[in-house]
Each structure stands twice: as C-alpha cells, then as structure tokens.
C-alpha cells in the first residue's frame, strides 16, 4: 500500500495520464486505437523533442522562457531558405539546427556576460526573437514548402500513422533518458541543479557544462522547429508562440522541480502528453479557446504550488520558523 502510494507520488504524471486515457476511452468512441495513439504522438513529437532540451536545462537548475519564439525564428529561417534559395534540403536543415545551437549558446554567453540567471535573459530574448521573426517574414506565412522537406516529418514507416517525427522523438527520449540516468554527463547536470557550489567544488567545470547544455538545448529546439514546420507545411512568426507554457507545465507535471536537481524524462513525456490530452479534451468538448488558456493557467499554478509544497515539506524546520515569526507578528499586531 505504502509502496503504491509512493509510486503514484513519484510518477504522478504517468498515473494521471493513464487515468485521463481511461476516461477518454470510456467516453469517446475510437479513442483507444493504435492509429489514434500514433496520431497523438505525431502531433506532440515536436513538443516532446523540445522538452528533451528544456528538461535538461531545468534539471541543471536553470529555466528557459524563450522556447516559443526561438523555435519560430528557426522555423521561419528554415522556411525562407527552402522557398527562396535552391540550397539542398539537408544543408538547409543543418543550417537551421546550427543556427539554433548558436542562438542557445549565445544565451549562455549573455547569462555570463550580464551575470543574470538564464530565465531573465531568455525573457528578454523572447521579445527580441519575436521582433526579428516578424521583421524577416514581414508578418506573412510562408507556405508551399518542398515535399522532400515535409517528408522529414511526415514520412511513415511500417504503419500509416507512424511518422518519422514520432520515431525521431522516440529515439531522442530513449537517448536522453539513458544520458540523464546513466552517464557521467547526466550526473553533472543533476549535481549542478542540486547545489551549484558543491558541484563546482566537486570538480565540475560549471561554465563549460552550461555551454554544453546550451548547445544541446539549441539542438533540440532546432530539430523541433524543423519537425513542426515540416508537419504543418508552413511557417510564420508566431508558429510556435506559447509552446513554452505547455512544455513547462508538462515538465513540472512530470516531477521536475523548478529548482532543479530532480526529474525523469519518461515522466516528462507523460506530463507533456497529459497536457496535450487535456487540451484535446477541451477542444473535443467544444470549449471556447480562451477558456482553454484559463484552464492551462490554473493547471500551471497548481503544479507550481505542488512543487513549492514539496520543497516546503523538505525544509520544514526553516519554514516553521518563518511561519512562526509571521504568526507572532499577526497575533501581536
């Protein structure tokens, strides 16, 4: 009994996902089919790929708030190269991903130059990227991407709904799970999130690691952008706007702490899918899209609250003291 409660707490997202899945299968015809499951995975492949990068950042103790426009700017760059130049598709894809890597490493550089946390640098950058994306596209949607390019995301293998995008996503998830849980690199990331000073004094080259993590995030976001515009066949300045909220909520649901140092990729995948299922459910139920924002906001706040609750439980001692001070203040006043 204790054990199963423990399991549920540790794998909250997974349990909720199964629960939500069961609910949908019971209420919606044709929900529980292979095709539908594969479709859901296909639709979310790009978020999950981006999540691999963002989870890495968060476990390492940082936050990135520029995901959406970072992906958008890579997407429009890629689309423009595809439609306006005759450069071969693989080269364009490589250029897109490298640009993304460069942008993310630039972020790391700025955090060091300015000496401020990544979350603030990326909040600034988000607006910057947004501006650039609108300027270079002139606020127009770029469509008519070449088939060869769309095939990267849409091509299928074995099953008509098993896309390359899904396969790529699965591969990244497996690799990242392994890297984070089993490798020296993963240990360094967790250590940095657990206690940056202790990590530094344990001989981890924190600077270097931040650049490596930055580069990896850039890589994942670049790939995610390619998959996203490959699947939809078009790119615009706001293509990926706001995905950071879905990703962040998914990751937090998946048990990554906002302070870093803990988390599991598999649970984050469950978290992202859960968020996707909920949005999907709301759409099916015909909710007004603005209500969906409200619902997402509420979920996000709940998850953050839960995270804080767990932190508080951990340092009961300290907090009791603070509460005590506040209480005394109230009673005396």
């Amino acid at each position: 009994m204790r054990k199963s409660i423990d399991f549920c707490q540790k794998n909250l997202a997974l349990v909720l996902l199964i629960f939500a899945g069961a609910l949908f299968s019971a209420t919606t015809a044709n929900f529980l089919t292979v095709t539908n499951a594969l479709n859901i995975l296909n639709q979310n492949a790009y978020t999950i790929i981006a999540m691999c990068g963002i989870a890495l950042i968060m476990i390492g103790g940082d936050l990135d708030m520029s995901v959406g426009y970072h992906m958008s700017i890579c997407g429009v760059l890629c689309a423009m190269l595809l439609t306006r130049t005759g450069i071969p598709v693989p080269v364009i894809v490589a250029v897109t991903i490298l640009t993304s890597v460069a942008l993310a490493m630039l972020t790391t550089f700025l955090t060091q130059l300015l000496g401020i946390p990544r979350i603030f640098v990326t909040i600034g950058e988000a607006t910057l990227f947004q501006g650039f994306a609108y300027v270079i596209t002139n606020s127009k949607t770029i469509s008519n991407l070449p088939i060869a390019f769309k095939n990267i995301a849409q091509g299928t293998l074995l099953h008509p709904s098993l896309t390359y995008a899904t396969l790529l996503m699965a591969a990244f998830v497996v690799i990242m799970s392994f890297v984070l849980s089993r490798t020296y690199f993963g240990r360094q990331v967790f250590s940095m999130g657990g206690n940056l000073t202790a990590a530094r004094l344990a001989g981890i080259n924190v600077m270097k690691m931040k650049y490596i993590i930055g580069a990896l995030v850039g890589f994942f976001l670049g790939v995610a952008a390619v998959i996203l515009i490959g699947r939809t066949g078009a790119a615009a300045a706001n293509t990926a706007a706001g995905v950071e909220i879905n990703i962040l909520t998914g990751i937090l649901l998946g048990g990554v702490s906002i302070r870093g140092g803990e988390g599991k990729i598999s649970n984050c995948v469950a978290g992202i899918l859960l968020v996707a299922l909920i949005s999907n459910g709301m759409q099916l139920a015909g909710w007004n899209p603005y209500f969906q924002y409200i619902a997402k906001g509420v979920i996000m706040l709940c998850v953050l609250g839960f995270d804080m609750f767990q932190m508080r439980r951990r340092s009961v001692m300290n907090n009791r003291r603070k509460e005590e001070a506040v209480l005394t203040a109230r009673q005396e006043a």
């Binding site: 089993r182 020296y184 690199f185 206690n195 004094l201 003291r321």
Partner: protein, 494 residues
C-alpha cells in the same frame, strides 16, 4: 519543580528511532549540557521541545503545564527560545529589525516606531557587552556577532529556557569566552540554558549538569562536579575510548605542494610548502584568510599573482577539476552550502567527486558507485539507515563525515581539510584523526585548517599561522606552544 521536563518522548523516522522513551528534567537557573554521539538524537530532542517537530509519544512539561502537539508559537509563548546551529536571522534586515521581528514596537498601524526600536535594540546589545550598531545589516556581521543577535532575540522574547545547538562550533576561541560570559550571566538571572556541544572541555568549564543520549536512548544525568572526562566519554560512546592523538609514523617525502608569494582573494604574499607524508596545520582567527587561501590552492579562485607548484611543476588551475586531476582536493568548511547535495542520497554525495573515474565511455558504473559508497560508509562509520537516505536527514556530524568521505573517495593525495571535525563527536573525531594519519603515512600531503587548538597541536607536523591575509609565522614541532600561536594569530610578527 523543574522548569522544563521532557517526559517519555519518542520520535521515529523511517528506518530510525531518533528518540526512544527519553525523559529529562531541567531545573531553573542551570546550564544543562546535552551530549551524545552524532545521531544520538540531541537535535531531534530540541526540535520537539521547540515544537518544530511533532513527537510520536510523550509530553513536554513547561512550568508544570503539560504540552502535547506543541507548535513553535506555543513554545515561544511558554518561554522557550532556540538558537539553531544554522543561524536563522534575516540577512538583509538590520540588527534592530531582526531583534524585534514579529514584535510590535510602538508606532501606528502604518509601521513600527523605528527610532524606539533602535533605541531598545542598542540597549539589548549593550547588555550583551557588544557595540554592534542596531542599524547594521545582519549580513555584514561575523558569525559570532550574529550569534549574539540571536541571543539578544531570545532576551527580547523574555525566554525562560534558552536552547543552544552547538553554538561554539562556528566561532573563534576568543569569541567563545565572551559567549560563555553571557550565558553565565543569563543563568544568574534565572534563565535555564540547554547547551549542546561536542567539546568536552567546554562543557566542563561552563555547565552545571549534563544529560547524555546514546542511540536515541537516555543514558544518565550527572553533575559535572561528580564525573570525570573519561566517565563522560564512556557514557557517550558506551565503551572505553582512549583520547590521545594517535601516533603517526610517517616519513616525509619530497615537496608535494609549494605556494610561492601567492596573492589574491584577500591574501597577500603567502609562502607555504607541504611535503608528502606531512600534516601542515594552518592556524589563525576566523577571518584570517585561511579558507580563502584554500580556495585558491584548490582551483576555485584564480590568484592574482604568485605561483602554485604541485608535484614539481608550476600549475595553473582554471577550475577545481584541474586541481583534482593533479590530486589536489578540498574538504570545504561549510558543508551545507559548499560540500553537500542536501536533497540527494548518501550514495550520490560520497562518490560525487569521483563519477568520472567511476565511468567508462561516459557511462557510470553503478556497481562501482555502490561499492565505493559502502567502503566509505564503513570506513568512517557513517550512521545512516541506508545509502539511499537523503543527506538532509542525517545528523550534523554524519553529514560532516559524508563531506570528508567525498574527498577521500576522489583519491586526492594533496588534501586540504578545512575544519574537518567541526560538529563531530569524540569517537568520530578519533576515526578522522586515524584516517588522516593513515593518509599521511601512505604519502599523502595534508593541509589542515582548524580552529581547535588541541587538534592543531596534536595533529600537525608543522604549523603556519595567518593574520589578516598574511602569514605571520611558522612553527616546527619542537617550537609548538599555544601562547606563541595565539600571539602570531593576533598579529605579533616575529
């Protein structure tokens, strides 16, 4: 009637019984020591008295009134104040604001009367024999000054029972005397002081009675007049324990580390050498720049000028791992913020400096990780229900052992121990001394920074003394004398 009575208190954590049916009574106006090995349950007991943890059984009786399910506020109302080992002031507020936090001092509903607050704060600090200005911000204060502010807070709260958890661990010898004076004055005013410490001398010179816990069980309460040091230790560890500094038979080898006119991080023109097999003691008051020197040697802070030579070559350490690769390892003094991953398990912390060595092609070998952890948990007798236990849940002393274990596990052979036995019990101290001896005997070079005079004199082959960022002298074993060291440490150069 005792002012505070702990009656049949039990506290269980998953896998440990931290307190097992403990009953102790404290009289009005006494200084009552609470002693026991690391993990004996001392801190847990005071957390329960302070209402910060709920007990699983038993009651706390304050002035004849029984309290069950006490909250921190209840405890405070009943006159119990606690000074935890990690001081709990708000660093960004002034001394006066900290003293009166949660108190209403004159003024209107808009805010307190700050002038009145400062006046009263100045009075409190003056009564404590301190000239700290009430408007000083707390982060500007030294640890010992912060401690005074904590004591001041207890006085403002009109406490009848003041509990102090290892108050002398973080402050310098000279400052300890001042604290003693204040504690004695409080006792003479009728306050009961519960004093937790691992320093036996201190307890004999300060306290009236002592209660001893072992493995969560109450052993005995004695008047210190009626007991001797050996008896006390026997009660604590449950067996005879010789306390002399173990003999070391090491042969000094070639120079392992040489620091030549190193300047930076607040230190100037430091010259030091340590040979293989040697223990170099580094003495000085708190703030003399010893930790700062250690940080430069271990590669964490880049020196401005000067040279570090390790193993015969001039070295430039860009970061800690450069130093570790050469074999220079630091055991930092502040375990919570610099040494430990508090929310990670023991089997992450101990190998945390060694993951690289324990991996092949970048993949960590979990079997080796476990083996290494087990080896050091055994070697240092770290008390933990399992190696999966989160370090935050270990007792203070056992956390310290984990920090030491992590550097030893990294196989560094030029080791800098910064306050290696802070908060560690007698038995564990012996283990760490023996360990250091074994390390020296097998050719490791050790620099030991310590504020514990006995330890300094007992363990060092040579002692270098620092004062305000400079070396003021160096003593060879034959010339060791406590007076000479104190002289050099307060700036009298040769």
């Amino acid at each position: 009637m005792p002012i505070l009575e702990v009656s049949r208190v039990t506290k269980r954590y998953p896998g440990v019984t931290a307190l097992d049916d403990v009953s102790i009574s404290f009289e009005k106006g006494e200084i009552h020591a609470l002693m026991g090995e690391n993990g004996a349950g001392k801190s847990t007991l005071i957390k329960i008295i302070a209402g910060a943890e709920a007990s699983d059984g038993g009651e706390i009786i304050i002035e004849g009134e029984s309290h069950r399910g006490m909250t921190p506020l209840d405890a405070k109302r009943a006159g119990v104040s606690v000074i935890y080992q990690e001081l709990n002031l708000v660093p960004s507020l002034s001394v006066a604001e900290n003293l009166f936090i949660g108190k209403k001092v004159g003024g209107s509903f808009i805010g307190p009367d700050f002038k009145e607050m400062r006046r009263r704060a100045a009075q409190v600090m003056r009564d404590l024999g301190s000239n700290i200005k009430p408007e000083t911000l707390v982060f500007e204060l030294s640890t010992s000054q912060q401690q005074l502010v904590e004591i001041g807070k207890a006085i403002v709260d009109n406490c009848k029972v003041l509990i102090m958890d290892e108050p002398s661990a973080a402050i310098a010898v000279a400052e300890v005397e001042n604290m003693f004076r204040i504690v004695r004055e409080l006792r003479d005013k009728g306050v009961t002081v519960v004093y937790i410490s691992h320093r036996i001398d201190e307890v004999f010179s300060l306290c009236d009675r002592v209660s001893i816990l072992r493995d969560g069980r109450y052993i005995t309460t004695e008047r210190l007049r009626d007991i001797d040091r050996r008896g006390l230790i026997r009660h604590m560890v449950g067996r005879e324990l010789s306390e002399t500094f173990p003999e070391r038979r090491s042969r000094m080898g070639e120079i392992a580390l040489e620091v030549i006119s190193l300047t930076g991080n607040g230190d100037f023109d430091m010259d030091l050498t340590v040979r293989k097999g040697e223990v170099l003691g580094l003495a000085g008051l708190v703030g003399a720049g010893r930790t700062e020197l250690a940080k430069m040697i271990c590669g964490d802070v880049k020196p401005v000028s000067g040279e570090i030579r390790a193993k015969g070559k001039s070295r430039r350490f860009g970061c800690v791992s450069d130093a570790l690769n050469i074999g220079v390892g630091l055991i930092p003094e502040d375990r919570k913020s610099e040494g430990l991953f508090m929310d990670f398990a023991v089997d992450w912390n101990i190998p945390s400096m060694s993951f690289k060595r324990l991996s092949r092609f970048g993949v960590v070998n979990q079997k080796k990780v476990e083996a290494l952890t087990d080896q050091y948990v055994d070697a240092l007798r770290i008390k933990t229900p399992s190696t999966r236990q989160v370090v935050r849940n270990l007792s203070g002393g056992n956390q310290q052992k984990v920090v030491v274990a992590r550097a030893l596990a990294a196989e560094a052979d030029i080791l800098i121990f910064d306050e290696p036995t802070r908060g560690i019990d007698v038995g564990a101290k012996q283990e760490i001394y023996r360990l250091m001896n074994r390390l020296a005997e097998t050719g490791n070079a050790i620099i030991m920074i310590t504020s514990d005079m006995e330890e300094l004199l007992g363990m060092s082959d040579r002692i270098a003394v620092m004062y305000e960022g400079r070396k003021t002298g160096e003593l060879a074993r034959e010339a060791f004398s406590q007076d000479r060291i104190l002289e050099l440490a307060s700036g009298y150069s040769v």
